[in-house]
Every structure is written in structure tokens, then in C-alpha cells.
């Protein structure tokens, strides 16, 4: 009995440790975001100042630019995720359920195109976006982000679909259903939660992207949140507005936490549904 208590205590200690290490920097960001002026430079473990000034500055100082950027990020990240998931679901079906020559080669190629450092494709991508006439529009970013979301979603979904047993598809095939119908009727219900996991990770990646966002947009109206944060400024050159940066990061991280809280049940139940093979 004592052994059991010891074990569960140890377990909870571990849980607490995991949570604390993950959250401490975020906690520190929160207390810093409430500080003003020279308080920023002081080390404190508990909030010693409670000023909402930084939040006000972030949200309203630039005539609503930040809110605009925030909205852009939501639109762009969501569109990117929907687009890549749509392309990836059909592609993964083909890659995992249909036998054809060159399947492995194709998987490898998909992986390979995402192996170039982002910084190196910048110039080529810039030319392309200029050429397509989508420079400084949200389309430029949605387009560019598929370069890293697509290979990832395709690979993960392919792995996932491969693990589903043959039986679930057989009946539909016998009924003469077309592959598109099979995806919609048979796989989507099962995949829905898997889509959530990859979608969430892809969403975060698109939400946090900085380099492309900076390069392919040139007006405050089209920029996204990470670029917006990098443009938060003190009153003078060299001055870094720590309080505001922290306030902004808290603001942009909250929706993601909400997303995870909403979808985390799906993440789990979904992948359990994946285990129907038995």
C-alpha cells in the first residue's frame, strides 16, 4: 500500500515538474507584461506591478494595427491548414491505400522538397510571388506556407491511414463506391481527429512563421502577428519594449491555448478511433 502511494506521489511530482518547466517562461512573460518602466529590469518571482498599460499600448497604440495583424494571422493560418489538409487527405489516401509504382519515391520526394533551408528559398519564392502578382496579399503567405505544412501533413496522414485495417474499406469497394466517396464516407469520420492533431501542429507552424511573413508583405494591413510583434517599438531606436513584447506574446499565445483545450479531447479520442483494427 505504502508503495502504491509512493508511486502515485512520484507520478504527480513528475506531472507538476513537467507543467512547471513548460509554463515557467510563459508565467514570467505574463508577470513581465504587467510591469512598466524600470521595473522591467528587476528580477521578481511574483508579480510586483500590475499595470495594464502594456496591453493597452499593444492593442490600441498603433490605431488598431495589432488587431488587424491578429485577424490576418487567423485568416492565413486557418486557410493554410484547411488547404493543406484538403490536399493532404486525398494525397495520403492515394499514397497509403493504392498500390502503384514509385510510391516510395514520391514519399521521399515530398520529404526532400522541405529539406532546403527556408532562408535559401526566400529569393526564388519572392520572384515567384511577384510573378504571380500576389505580393503583399494574404494569398502570398497561404501559398508559401504550404511549402512546410504540406509535406508534414501528407506524411503524418499517410502513416495514419496505413494503420487502418483493410476491412473498413472493403465493404465500400464491393458496393462500387468511388475513391472520393470512400474518403468522404469511410475515412473522414475516422480521420477527423487525426486531422485535428496535424491541423493543430500545422496551424501553430503557420501562426508563428516570421521570415516569409516579413518578406512577402509590405504594409501594416497585410502583416501577421509575429511581424507585428517584431515591430512593436519603444520610443526611440535601440530601446526594446520588453513589457509590450511580453504582453503581445501573451495575447497571441492565448488563442492557441484555447484551441488546444477545445481540440485536445479530439486528439485523444480520434487516435483511439484509429485503433479500431483490434
Amino acid at each position: 500500500m505504502a508503495m502504491k502511494y509512493l508511486k502515485s506521489t512520484a507520478f504527480y511530482v513528475l506531472v507538476v515538474f513537467i507543467v512547471v518547466q513548460a509554463l515557467f517562461p510563459f508565467y514570467y512573460a505574463i508577470i513581465t507584461s504587467f510591469k512598466s518602466g524600470s521595473h522591467i529590469f528587476e528580477i521578481t518571482y511574483l508579480p510586483n506591478d500590475f499595470s495594464l498599460q502594456n496591453y493597452k499600448d499593444v492593442l490600441f497604440k498603433g490605431n488598431g494595427t495589432f488587431i488587424r495583424n491578429f485577424w490576418n494571422s487567423i485568416v492565413i493560418a486557418t486557410s493554410t491548414v484547411v488547404l493543406s489538409l484538403f490536399i493532404a487527405v486525398t494525397a495520403s489516401y492515394a499514397l497509403s491505400r493504392v498500390r502503384f509504382r514509385g510510391r516510395s519515391l514520391m514519399l521521399m520526394t515530398i520529404l526532400a522538397v522541405s529539406m532546403f533551408p527556408q532562408i535559401a528559398v526566400l529569393a526564388g519564392l519572392f520572384e515567384l510571388i511577384k510573378g504571380l502578382g500576389i505580393y503583399n496579399t494574404p494569398y502570398a503567405l497561404i501559398f508559401a506556407y504550404t511549402i512546410f505544412t504540406l509535406p508534414f501533413t501528407v506524411w503524418v496522414l499517410t502513416t495514419f491511414m496505413r494503420d487502418l485495417p483493410i476491412e473498413i474499406e472493403e465493404a465500400a469497394i464491393v458496393d462500387g463506391a468511388t475513391p472520393w466517396v470512400i474518403i468522404r464516407r469511410v475515412f473522414l469520420p475516422l480521420m477527423w481527429p487525426a486531422l485535428v492533431t496535424t491541423g493543430l501542429l500545422a496551424f501553430i507552424a503557420a501562426w508563428n512563421e516570421f521570415l516569409f511573413a516579413l518578406t512577402f508583405t509590405s504594409s501594416m494591413d497585410t502583416r501577421t502577428v509575429p511581424v507585428g510583434i517584431s515591430m512593436l517599438s519603444g520610443n526611440s531606436e535601440h530601446e526594446i519594449p520588453w513589457g509590450m513584447i511580453m504582453a503581445a506574446s501573451v495575447i497571441v499565445t492565448l488563442p492557441l491555448i484555447a484551441l488546444v483545450l477545445i481540440f485536445q479531447r479530439k486528439i485523444i479520442s480520434g487516435l483511439t478511433a484509429g485503433g479500431v483494427k483490434g
Binding site: H39, F41, L214, S230, M231, N235, S236, E239
Partner: protein, 419 residues
């Protein structure tokens, strides 16, 4: 009303060929932040009122490396969306081919600017950018602490080190540092180290004629002197400091001396600053015998893109922003240092911004980084230089060896001449 006619006159006087009355839409890209951005917006409104040209500001992140990479890419792609670029003092020579020659446009006013600044923006006789405002560092010192130990503000680096030591020994505080500067391996270290070397009579890395001068005993001695401070009057962590880290330590009251730009002056006197009214500035110390104070030239300039569809109107815009009137307003409202000498003697400036007047003395000893002679290679030169300095200060090789290696690398980089 009076102000408006005044501005109109100013704009008209700098744009003699204002025949084409067609209004244009112009774009200016700027890494300016906060107050500076507000100031520019206000001035641009005056410009629009006077000329009918609409101007949009494209703001950029304040990180200068981010800006620079971006501008290069835009210019490489012949971006017609941007007409005017706000450029760091070291960029213009690297982008000279992409900017319009302003020599003719500015021939009447060029002489009124500090010659060293105009020189820094001139490449092969072509004026690539016109100065907007300038920046130069000073030595910040704690009046209260120096008074307590009856020490006068130092004139040489050795005096400064001695003073710092006296105060540290006297105060016996674990948190107090003697001298903080920008020791991180980045462009800021090139600025700091150029001052140490130049003030010690060690030249300016690459001279105006392109000769590589850095490998000399005086330069080595200057670096050795700084090396001796690390771990004694300066914390080891100073080797990771940029401007804000130094100011952080300083503004908490934890440093006797600091090398920094003018922006730290106003912030240090902020209501919640621990050093409010306890400090002052003097020109940076000299190296002693035969040396004189040296302050690295910073600041911002305005250049017209050659891909602009409205080059003439864009020229008017930069001439307007660089005019004495705007510079004066910039000094009064945003405490930026004018590049036109006469503005320092202006009565309003003297009355409302006494600190700016103090900086005039510093400009007499301003030294440009070797961006003009080394042209497109400047960034690489600077990187090699700060690496050699950072290595020396971290105890990774002696100053003499590192400078000899640096000379070899620079010679290789130069090839058959800086191009």
C-alpha cells in the same frame, strides 16, 4: 498659417524644377519606431500639403539586419513599390548601384552638413543618400559616485578604469559594475572597438584610401587594455551585451560608466529610473598620449531607389526631410541629433534641448566606420573585425596574433582592390 507658408517656401526652395505639378504617390520604407514614426508622419503631412504628393510609410522591424536583408532583396528584384529608403549610415555604399545620385540635387546644401557624414555617404563621387539625422555615442558617468570619491570625469581610458576601480573598491557592492559597453559579437562591437583603436592612434581598420591598417601595435595595445577590464571593472557577461543590456544594468544604478548612444540619456532621466539626475555625459575618453577621443558615427539617411517611378518627386521628398527645418523639428521633438551644423547653434535647440548641444563637441571627433572604402564587402569586413575583437576579449588568442590573422583575412577579401 505662418508655419504652413514657411514649409511651402522650404519645399519650393529645394525643388527649383517644380514644374511638373502632377501629384505622385510615394512610399518611404523606414525602420523608425515609436516617436520617430509619429514625427515622420507629421512631417510628411506637411510635405503632402505643400506638394500634393501623397506619401505612405512602410514600417519595418527595428532589427537593422532584418531591414538590410529585406531591402537588398527588394532592390535586387527591382521593386517599384518603394521610392525612398531610410538607410543606416553603413548601408548606402553597399547599395550604391541601386540608388539615384543625389550630388546635383543636394549641391547647395551638402556643405551645410557635417563633412564626415557626407563623406560616409559618398561612393566614387556619387552621393547615394542624404543625411536625415545622426547618432554618436558618449561616455555616461555617475555624477553622484564620482563626486563621492572626488574624481573628475575621465579624459583617458586609463583614468576611467582607475576611477571605476576606486568606486568599486569603495562601494563594495556585488551588483555594481565599473564599465558597461556593447561587447556582443555584432555590429555594435565594431563601433565600440573602432573607438578604442582610433582613440589610441591605431587607425580606423581600413583607411579612406582602402589601405588595411588594423595590424599595428597601437591597435593591439588598445584591445589589450579593454581585455584587462573584463572580469575586473566589467562583468564577463558584457561580451554578450548589446545596447539594451548595457542600459538595463546602467538604469538599475548598477554601473559607474557606460558607453552608449544618445537615446539612453532621456530614458535614464525617466521618472522611474534609478539614475535619474545622477548622471551626465562627456565625450568618450582618449587613449592618452597622442590619442584623441573618437566617436563612431551612426545615424540614418535617405536614399532614392533607382526603380522608383517618380524619381523627381522622391528627390524632393528626401531633400525636404533632410532640410534644416525638419532637422530642427526632429531635434526639438524627438531629440535626434541634426546633421546640419548650424542647427546646433539654433537658439530654440539650445534652450529646449541642451543635451543636443553637448553632442556637438562629440561630432568634432566623429569617425565613420570603413563602409565607404570597403563598399559591398563592408559587412564581411566588420564581421571579421568584431570576431577578432571578441576572440581577443574572450581570451581566445592574443591581440597581436588575432590582428595579424585579421589583416591576412582582410587582404584576401580585398583581393585586387575593394569593389
Amino acid at each position: 498659417m505662418k508655419m504652413k507658408t514657411f514649409i511651402t517656401a522650404a519645399v519650393a526652395s529645394i525643388s527649383l524644377m517644380a514644374v511638373s505639378a502632377v501629384a505622385a504617390d510615394l512610399s518611404i520604407v523606414s525602420g523608425s519606431t515609436g516617436k520617430d514614426l509619429e514625427f515622420m508622419t507629421k512631417e510628411l503631412a506637411k510635405f503632402t500639403a505643400a506638394t500634393g504628393n501623397k506619401v505612405t510609410i512602410v514600417p519595418m522591424p527595428s532589427s537593422t539586419t532584418d531591414q538590410f536583408g529585406q531591402y537588398k532583396l527588394w532592390l535586387a528584384a527591382g521593386n517599384t513599390d518603394i521610392d525612398v529608403y531610410q538607410t543606416d549610415v553603413i548601408w548606402a555604399p553597399q547599395l550604391a548601384d541601386q540608388f539615384v545620385d543625389l550630388t546635383a540635387t543636394a549641391k547647395d546644401v551638402a556643405k551645410s552638413h557635417f563633412p564626415s557624414i557626407i563623406e560616409s555617404q559618398t561612393v566614387n563621387g556619387k552621393l547615394v543618400a542624404i543625411p536625415y539625422f545622426t547618432d554618436a555615442p558618449a561616455l555616461y558617468y555617475r555624477k553622484d559616485l564620482l563626486d563621492k570619491y572626488k574624481i573628475a570625469p575621465p579624459k583617458t581610458w586609463d583614468e576611467m578604469a582607475a576611477a571605476a576601480k576606486t568606486v568599486l573598491d569603495g562601494e563594495k557592492s556585488a551588483d555594481l559594475q565599473g564599465f558597461v559597453f556593447q561587447g556582443n559579437a555584432y555590429e555594435g562591437l565594431t563601433c565600440d572597438a573602432l573607438e578604442w583603436v582610433k582613440s589610441n592612434g591605431g587607425g580606423q581598420i581600413v583607411e579612406a584610401d582602402g589601405k588595411i591598417s588594423i595590424n599595428n601595435p597601437k591597435a593591439a595595445a588598445a584591445l589589450d587594455r579593454v581585455k584587462s577590464w573584463i572580469g575586473t571593472i566589467s562583468p564577463k557577461g558584457v561580451l554578450a551585451y548589446q545596447e539594451e543590456e548595457s542600459r538595463g544594468v546602467w538604469q538599475l544604478g548598477n554601473a559607474v560608466f557606460m558607453r552608449n548612444w544618445p537615446y539612453a540619456f532621456a530614458l535614464g532621466n525617466g521618472a522611474d529610473s534609478k539614475v535619474k539626475d545622477k548622471f551626465d555625459i562627456v565625450p568618450l575618453p582618449s587613449g592618452g598620449e597622442g590619442g584623441s577621443s573618437a566617436a563612431t558615427l551612426g545615424g540614418w539617411n535617405l536614399a532614392v531607389s533607382k526603380y522608383s517611378k517618380n524619381v523627381e518627386e522622391a528627390k524632393k521628398l528626401v531633400m525636404f526631410l533632410a532640410s534644416a527645418e525638419v532637422q530642427k523639428a526632429n531635434a526639438l521633438e524627438a531629440s535626434h541629433l541634426p546633421t546640419i551644423e548650424s542647427v546646433y547653434d539654433d537658439a530654440d535647440v539650445a534652450k529646449n534641448q541642451p543635451v543636443i548641444v553637448k553632442w556637438k563637441a562629440i561630432f568634432q571627433n566623429a569617425v565613420p566606420r570603413p563602409s565607404a572604402p570597403t563598399k559591398v564587402k563592408y559587412n564581411e569586413v566588420s564581421s571579421l573585425f568584431w570576431s577578432a575583437v571578441h576572440d581577443t576579449l574572450s581570451g581566445n588568442g592574443t591581440s597581436a596574433d588575432n590582428l595579424a590573422t585579421l589583416e591576412a583575412k582582410l587582404t584576401e577579401l580585398k583581393g585586387d582592390g575593394w569593389k
